[in-house]
Amino acid sequence: MALEQRVQLPAANTAIYLGIFASAFVGLALLLLVLGELGEGGSSTLLSLALAPVAVYLLIGFMARAHVPEDFFVAGRSIPAIYQGLAATVATLGGVGTVALTGAFFFLGFDALPFSIGLMLGLLATSILVAPYVRKDGSYTLASYLGRRFDSRPLRAMLGVAMTVPALFILIAELKIGMALTSRALGVSELLVVGLGGVVVATVAGLGGVRSLTWAGAAQALIALLALITPAVILALLLTNLPLPQITYGTLADDVARLEASAGITARIVSKLAISQPGGDPELLLKPFMQPFGATGSYGFAALMLTVALGVVSLPALGTRASACRSVFEVRRAMGWTVVLTAGVLLTLPALALFARYEILSGLAGLTADQIPAWLGEAARIGLASFETQGGVIALDQLRFQRDGVLLLLPMASGLPPVLVMVALAGAIAAVLAAATAQTQALAALWVEDIVFAWSEIGSQPALRLAAGRGAAVGAALLGTWLAASVSADPLALFTWALALAAAAAFAPLVMCVWWKRINQWGAMAGLLVGFGTALFLLLLTLAGALPAVFERSGAFATVIAVPLATVTALVVSLLTPRPDRRMLELVRDIRVPSGETVYERELRLARIGKR
């Protein structure tokens, strides 16, 4: 019985299952394409393309359900590197890093690059500075990792509370993106969509925690990557004669510049501190695509880049994934895959955005009011765009688009078959669900491991822990759903504030705990309190409207202030308080070496034989 319960999905078969799943998706898309050409298959059959994959995610979540806490919190430490890389990529990028970032590139061109540079730098730093050591420690959350490293339960509980805020922010941001996009594209109510999304997230996270969400995440990654790459390759072939969008979109740069000039989009000069993030309502195209620092100034650019980089290192959902890998070496490989796959996505998004500018501006130039294409009318009806006519002609300088709709408008505006709009929607849903589930699980693990069970013996009461984990996952999903439906905030702004808060709270202790062995629990605690307190204070001041406009809609400058402050505080307080004792130093030296059993398992073993 016990053996039967612990049956793992064998990796070789998993590759086959995922291959079948991806082929079935492509097959369904091609079938609907043929039916569409024959004039069969209305919008209701197209719907299956967006919804069938969701049923598969639920099925995977059920198949990979957890029976012991180790499965729920770290997937039995059994995830092979490539699948971890796939799941981590899609969960880190999420709907924000695909849907909203494509939109940001569409509006800002060059000035959206801080997100992609920051993501790459953050992932590189995570794979070198943090992830391998989290795996050697073997903790279930970043808060328990630091709590164990400093042998301090108060620190653990404080981090558990602090990390809740960024995880919840990102959960809300993801659900909001999924809600707005899906309800507009399918013409159903937002509440229905976000409710169903919340149920899917709660089911997958509640059934199997990390195990379910990683295997479902690998499937979601395939759909999200397919959905991004297919329109990009088709358009690259049509527009530039070479199916390599990442390097060929430059050949359209001159044409786009000409179109921009005719649409009255001219080079701008802004303050060096300015940060521009397109928001939720349809907006005008801001600046020429290739112009650097025309909407976000160079200081703002640097601040945003650092916020994203430091925030990615500190996010509770990413660091904990390391513990689900088979070994420290596998963690490094998994992070390597994450970097490579993320790089592929981040090289593709600007190409999609430039193609969208080209197709939209060239398709609409000089059209009279009675020639308005069907897609623009439809987009305006569902709130993804707005336009005006002047003297009987569409005014190119009055075209407004909704940031998150760009990915859906691109296949519509380029005259691609409606199947590709549904593929884009399926990709967006996959990315949103992957990120939302990862954040939900991170919240559940923080609440259960670091707050409820913070003061109890390591690994005690496994059945209760598992039940609490499931309950917390469902609770987190419901809370996120309710907040996403009721709070009005822009997802991209929520995302940058989440990164700023995570970096302010955890970056300094997380990096210093391995790389500076003199740091002690007092230093870590002071760093956490000062950093998180500063960032939270700045956020509250911003909400109250008491700060200059540069803080609005982005926590970038909060990071620049809070992270150095936290680092210096941790340093000074550590030096002013007693050195860490011998046991602590031994623990650091142990975490630094990959070989040997994890610290978590050793403590569990020692606790079982009552030696500690």
């Binding site: 430059g250 620092f293 070989s595 040997g596």
Partner: protein, 94 residues
């Protein structure tokens, strides 16, 4: 009492050189690519004129070069760190 001793797979005197090399690799991998990634975008104003396969050179540096630098850095890090682990006997059995 000494909880570490039981699982002490790598001898204590070998830990120091292992960590020294690991540290050098980590900083070597982070500092140069990190500075490149942080600095390259800020040349894009000066390099907005000349183009390479259609891209202004400044844009290509910030949009392409930076990302490729990160990929190269992480690849080198994984391979080199694995060598260091094996050289010092700090690797896991797998």
């Amino acid at each position: 009492m000494d909880v570490i001793a039981e699982a002490d797979v790598i001898e204590k005197k070998r830990r120091k050189p292992y960590w020294r090399e690991t540290k050098m690799l980590a900083f070597g991998t982070l500092i140069l690519p990190g500075i490149l990634m942080l600095v390259l975008p800020f040349w894009s104003d000066e390099l907005a004129g000349p183009t390479i396969i259609g891209f202004p050179v400044g844009f290509a540096l910030a949009a392409h070069a930076v990302i490729l630098v990160a990929v190269a850095a992480v690849a080198r890090f994984i391979l080199r760190q694995n060598e260091i682990d094996h050289w010092h006997g700090a690797h896991e059995d797998h």
